[in-house]
């Protein structure tokens, strides 16, 4: 069924009995051309593009819980391509372009909202660094504007312009950036992939990666062995654990990142705002909640919870830049489990095992990368060679030194 206003009306009249599951509750077949491990946004997007753009339809996505139960459902929903380094910009911009046509592609409204992303700067040096970034974006055909303090005031008059510890002197704006409804992205990809024949198998955990003679032959799961010619791992948050099934070690450490929502309120904050003198970013959802986050918890963690220290730190940052938030209340906070790579940039690459491919190390960038990561991973799996936009995201870059370190903090994942 194609979703439309007409269908909505029709079903309103017949008591909604015409609606059907958005994806089948598939059980594993004995073998597939491709098995994707991980039913998050990335895994489902990979399956969708494999089927739609690369002609690979005999695909299963296996998910240990319910689809979208990892970081796809635990992020702050921001989409943007305002990166600094040539290794990153083309990739995230490919993603922005896919976001821009996503709903029509999926026939599912993921509420992609290009409401603008404003990064605040607080010193001349920071403004110059933003200029470098904005210019790099422009050279790559990405929209970027460097605006002064008065223009910032026009966009966000509620910021603390007068009493702040770190004065606001301007900002970098990407107007095409914004937000998308994270769960809907997962469901939309699932529905679209399912339509093209992809089996989405929930409650099915990978317990082993079976290879013979250096070549992958399938995945052991809690629902039995599933044969596969090619296997893609897309399990951010659990990358090290799953890679260990194939005796691989990854340049990744796992950390918790907290995020927060407030109670719903009438429209207050229009665009995405990022505080440049600390760790804080915020936007308002269509439902009215302010959605925000800050710094990583500083220690490796697989627990989906954060510390009071960072909880408080985020509130301090919020009040430092938006003192009007004082009486608004945090409704809920949660912790996502981040694949933090050693240079802060992702990995999409083949592994030493033939037919086994890896996608991970997304740090904070995973949600916004969903379409591009899915597309590039599908490209890699289908063709055996990287998509041009993801070509720098190689596993061997740490050995060669071709790291892509946006922040320049080196191999300290908790600082990226």
């Amino acid at each position: 069924m194609t979703f439309s206003g007409f269908q909505l009306l029709r079903n309103a009249l017949n008591g909604g009995t015409g609606w059907t599951p958005h994806w089948r509750k598939a059980e594993p077949k004995p073998a597939y051309d491709v098995v994707i491990v991980g039913g998050g946004g990335h895994g489902l997007a990979t399956a969708h593009y494999l089927a739609k753009d690369f002609g690979v339809n005999n695909v299963a996505v296996i998910e240990k819980g319910w689809i979208g139960s990892g970081n796809a459902g635990r992020n702050t929903t921001i989409i943007r391509s305002n990166y600094l380094l040539p290794g990153n910009i083309p990739f995230y911009e490919l993603g922005m372009k896919l976001w821009e046509g996503l709903e029509q592609d999926l026939n599912y409204n993921a509420m992609v909202s290009q409401r603008g992303v404003l990064n605040l700067c607080h010193s001349d040096a920071q403004r110059d660094a933003f200029a470098r970034r904005g210019n790099a974006m422009r050279l790559h055909g990405v929209d970027a504007e460097l605006i002064d303090r008065e223009a910032v005031r026009g966009m966000a008059p509620y910021l603390d312009f007068d009493n702040a510890r770190f004065p606001i002197i301007g900002g970098l704006v990407q107007r095409r950036g914004g937000t998308a409804r994270h769960d809907a992205v997962v469901w939309g990809y699932a529905r679209a992939a399912d339509k093209r024949g992809v089996d989405i198998i929930e409650n099915c955990e990978a317990t082993g990666l079976r290879s013979e003679g250096g070549k992958i032959v399938g995945v052991e799961t809690t629902k039995g062995f599933v044969g596969a010619n090619r296997v893609g791992l897309s399990v951010a948050g659990n990358s090290s654990r799953v890679a260990a099934l194939a005796d691989m070690r990854l340049p990744i450490e796992t950390y918790a990142l907290q995020a927060f929502v407030t109670e719903s309120i009438k429209p207050l904050i229009d665009c995405v705002v990022t505080f440049g003198a600390g760790h804080f970013y915020i936007s308002q959802s269509d439902k009215g909640s302010l959605v925000f986050g800050g710094d990583l918890d500083p220690f490796p963690s697989y627990a989906q919870r954060g510390s009071l220290h960072v909880f408080s730190d985020v509130a301090e940052n919020a009040m430092a830049v938006m003192p009007m938030l004082g009486r608004l209340r945090i409704l809920r906070s949660w912790g996502g489990v981040m694949d933090m790579s050693m240079d802060g940039s992702p990995i999409i690459d083949a592994t030493p095992i033939e037919g086994l491919f890896f996608n991970g190390g997304w740090c904070y960038g995973g949600f916004k990368a969903t379409p591009a990561a899915g597309f590039c991973f599908a490209h890699l799996i289908a063709k055996g060679e990287p998509h041009q936009a993801a070509a720098p995201f190689r596993l061997d870059r740490f050995a060669t030194g071709r790291v892509i370190d946006e922040k320049g903090v080196g191999a300290t994942p908790n600082l990226h």
Binding site: E253, P298, F299, P300, H309, F398
Partner: protein, 95 residues
């Protein structure tokens, strides 16, 4: 999180900075420019252990006594099994 600093006693997370896996620096091989030497450092710097479970880590009590500690901790539950000075500071620590 409370970390029981061997010198200061139980202290809040905010006083600490975390470096990551407590792994020894590779021995500087005779030939510093050899492939083996480089591979050892690549491994130590980039391919650190990342278990879901017990993990030995280097923490610095930065706002406290400025001791580097080895902390053994469960990354799933955050339970801490022990914290010790990274290198027992000669006789001083014992006297």
């Amino acid at each position: 999180m409370l970390i029981n600093c061997p010198y200061c006693g139980p202290r809040d997370l905010l006083e600490f900075t975390v470096k990551g896996e407590a792994r020894a620096r590779p021995d500087a091989a005779a030939d510093l420019d050899s492939e083996a030497s480089r591979a050892g450092f690549v491994d130590a710097v980039y391919l650190r252990d990342n278990p879901a479970g017990r993990h030995k880590e280097h923490w610095l009590h930065a706002s406290g006594c400025q001791s580097w500690l080895v902390i053994e901790r469960d990354t799933r539950t955050h339970e801490i099994f022990g914290a010790s000075l990274v290198a027992s500071d000669a006789e001083g620590a014992k006297s």
